[in-house]
Symmetry: C3
């Protein structure tokens, strides 16, 4: 994307020289880079947009040969070539697959697949992608029973993802996984705390730098008395599906996680606002949406109760961004964190970033994370953010004389690496 304005272009160029720390991704450290075009086009953004634009889901079935799946998605790409997600794909094709054109369609399927097969088979492909992306650390999203073995935890930083513990503890398979991971049959509050503390210990030993969770719009955490949590656990384990029991259990486990974050000095990433399985026939990972009617006031008691815990907050909608700005401006332990999912498009990144930069201490802002499943996506996603950041720094800081260019780049460095380094102790 050519940037017309010279100051913005210069800032963008300099910003691109800042080595990244990517504080949230879904990278699998055992298969971080893509092995084929299918790993790229299988990203849920493409499957869900292609399906939304008319592609039958049968095309995605596992029985279909990978190249035919890719062709089906590419056939629908012209219907979504206006989207920013499509532009990430074009940028990947250009940056990593030697693609020369500006637009991709089904006519490029074989060439792109062939190029991907050839290039990604190189033994140092992962290193090539990391080097071109210039990223120093990439935070992961690890299940609580992830063994965290067999990869470089200095590069791929573990994070303890806790959705299952908070919302799915009623499922026998989750309790079984917890038992296997800890050797503890957790049937009351005390045992549960002991078990989860074991998880924290193991994660921290393996260089974990955050605890993380995604939360539905109506979640409003509050402390639960130990006996109440024990009772709720018993009822759940006994098969109860009562909403109050489930809520008590979720609240109790969530509060316990915050206590353990305090004890183990881990920031607690909250990703606020997602409703799961809203479109029940959607593609894999393309079923979740939201209800804009949510508020950070639901977390006021939590923020007050844990002044020692830092809460990097992601919100799903731009509507919530003003709350995030204001809560981060007031609460020392609340920190803005990236641009999540449905808000991760320029239309929302730009006003949200601008408001944060005008009213939140600059030391309390984690500018961006990739949320990527494969390494190749870090580059185009960060480029999207960096272009917007360059524009805001030019228009709101350098031209009005608030910052020199050098000072603007210092701010960019804080947003892209130093704040994440300091806040997560990475």
């Amino acid at each position: 994307m050519p940037i017309i304005d010279r100051l913005t272009r210069d800032l963008f160029g300099e910003i691109c020289r800042i080595t990244l720390i990517d504080p949230h991704s879904h990278i699998n450290p055992h298969a971080a880079a893509s092995k084929s075009l299918d790993d790229i086009l299988g990203y849920h953004y493409y499957t869900e947009l292609a399906h939304s634009a008319g592609m039958n889901q049968l095309a995605l079935s596992k029985d279909v040969p990978a190249r035919e799946r890719d062709r089906a998605i590419l056939e629908h790409l012209p219907r979504i070539d206006n989207t920013v997600q499509c532009s990430w794909f074009v940028e990947i094709a250009q940056a990593f697959l030697g693609f020369q054109g500006d637009r991709v369609g089904p006519e490029h399927c074989d060439a792109l697949c062939d190029a991907a097969d050839r290039l990604m088979a190189q033994p140092d492909w992962e290193q090539q992608v990391l080097k071109k992306t210039d990223v120093e650390k990439i935070f992961l999203t690890n299940d609580f029973d992830d063994p965290l073995e067999g990869f470089d935890t200095q590069l791929y930083v573990p994070c303890l993802r806790t959705d299952d513990l908070v919302f799915n503890l009623a499922k026998p398979e989750v309790r079984e996984r917890l038992y296997k991971a800890t050797g503890i049959h957790a049937s009351n509050t005390e045992q549960l705390r002991e078990a989860i503390a074991k998880l924290f210990e193991r994660f921290v030993c393996r260089n974990a730098k955050a605890c993380a969770i995604s939360l539905p719009p109506d979640f409003a955490p509050m402390p639960v008395a130990p006996l109440d949590l024990t009772n709720a656990m018993s009822e759940l384990n006994g098969g109860s599906t009562d909403a109050n029991v489930r809520r008590t259990c979720a609240n109790g486990v969530f509060w316990m996680l915050a206590e353990l974050c305090r004890e183990f000095k881990l920031p607690f990433d909250l990703m606020i606002g997602v409703n799961r399985r809203v479109y029940q026939s959607g593609v894999f990972q393309g079923q979740d949406l939201f209800d804009q009617r949510t508020s950070l006031i639901q977390y006021a008691e939590l923020f007050n109760a844990f002044p020692e815990v830092t809460f990097p907050i992601s919100v799903l909608t731009s509507v919530q961004n003003q709350e995030l700005v204001s809560y981060s401006w007031i609460f020392p332990n609340v920190v803005t964190n990236g641009h999540w999912w449905y808000s991760n498009i320029p239309s929302y990144i730009e006003p949200d970033t601008r408001a944060r930069l005008q009213a939140v201490p600059k030391t309390k802002q984690i500018g961006y994370y990739s949320d990527a499943y494969k390494l190749e996506f870090i580059l185009p996603k960060y480029n999207m953010y960096r272009r917007i950041l360059a524009k805001i720094l030019a228009d709101d800081f350098v031209r009005p004389g608030i910052y020199s260019e050098t000072q603007a780049l210092t701010l960019a460095r804080q947003l892209l690496r130093e704040n994440a380094q300091r806040i997560f102790g990475a």
Copy 2:
């Protein structure tokens, strides 16, 4: 309005050459064009803004001669000359009434009235306006008992408006109208379905291309068992005003409409978010407002239950636009539809359009509709939209190299006619 930037101006010029399909209006096909200035200034935007700015409603009384009504509104125009609605009027005066100035006030009342009387009396005035506006089809808003006769349904496309059936079935006059239109006394679920199916048949025979309804912010449709609907109808017919009974009835009829849309293959236009009669002493059609606390999650069950029905969605507030973007991105049967009412000003059209263009498949966006009551309004309203569209295409697509100018105009053509053609089968 002169556009400074050359690329934007060129794009605007080309966009204006695209023959329009206007997929939602309140045009009366038997009196589509205005007959006097009073038909223009009687538009609720002018009466409500003039009243809000201090005009006594007595000035609008039917006893007042039309020209004096117009003069009263024109006297208040200087107080609202900042508004975009006022600029539509100036553009109408310039484009259709030979007005040479830039600003209109009471001093122009007689000249404008005279010009309107003279010009609009021409037998081919309607054709002149249609030609100058370059619009091929205009969708209507027809009461369910509209005879749909005496006009060209290829030009003025009928749409079945169903607010009365869903929300006012308790009123004896509505039941009487339904009986007269169908010959069926609908006192239970089965009879009601039979009656409404008759309406659908008649509408489809007369080239209707959509079913449509406006909905309050707290409406959350869900299916109703036939017996429950029958019981609710009985209670309502018996005079019950119980809120639960009313809700059951509204839900039951609404769901039945969705089933009939499926059966008759009609898209179901949902216009979500209006509270009626909020300002009880307001002018005619100037009493409705809203509650921003509403969510498309209320429609998740509907969207899941009717994958075969296309739902073109209008939202009343820009706050809801991110939900609309996200739901259209995920649900194949959800489509963005225009910029409605309180969101139909450039401040909201621009960010809302930008977000849609960045994240919704381009085939799933109906760019704009006029919502006009008289033909003369289609031109200035579409021009407002086309200026914004030209600016977004220049800034977000052509300059960054995502689209060529030709490709940008192809997208404009989809937004302004082809998507409406395909989605409504018009």
Copy 3:
């Protein structure tokens, strides 16, 4: 702040020549100007941002010498030098303290304190600040028992602030203050009305021009029968903390205030959306936040019941701005009022102002107020607004040919003084 664009710069220059009327502040008329740097840096924006960025609150303790408090805040200023609030401070230092630099840090502490001590000790400092600021009238926020004596009420215009009466009448000290101010023991509806009417009389005699209140997001006023209010007052006075009783009392007093505004012909400023004491360990005045889930529909009954009372409305969030635009467009007695607190940053002022200017009669918009505690803040805050206003007038009005420059400046004059003059009768 240099403005690049020439038209915008010219408009800004001319706008700055408009003598201001500041329709809302927290100025103490007995100590309107600052006496030291501590009066400037003690503003809650600096204490709360510095605390949020890591400053221990002990640094703010009253035992700490003023200069050390200032130094502590200045030491944290580099962490918040990105914020617009910090830019206000730099502008004050430049405009009033002879500061020559662009950025302020702890190294300037002594020089700034010395300069402030020297300059602010001048007997005509207040007059100097007023003159440089070019402000003609400044509205105050007066407790209901403020004696309103010893200052020029033509310059410092009293406003009756009523939060205590509506929300804290249960507190014995508030009832005692009411008794002392009126000589009436208000233990039933009639006595309460008599007492509050006495307050209105006294305020109006002392040139008060508005009644004002800030309201939590869930407040939804409704009338209360006199007997019900009497009963609620008895229960509250008897020590009840029941939420329904409190609500009845708040509603009853609020409605009574609206009746008295009607009787005494005072506008009723509503500042909608603040939750008090959300961050319980926050600095003084740095504890309040909000819940974005609020709606002006909660005030529909009030606006309908009091067509003779003008309600200048401030909303706390930009999310509510579209409601404010729409309600002001429809209700003759609803008027937009400034940019409050968490929305008082350019990111929100700009879109909110733009939407108001496109859809609300220009006579119904009070552009801005300072909300200042000390006179020196009026200049930089208004400059922030004036820069944005100049940009909007250039981009949306002058360049598109809607207004000439002269007409644009006429609009600016309405926003900055004439509308406030007319609406408040000041």
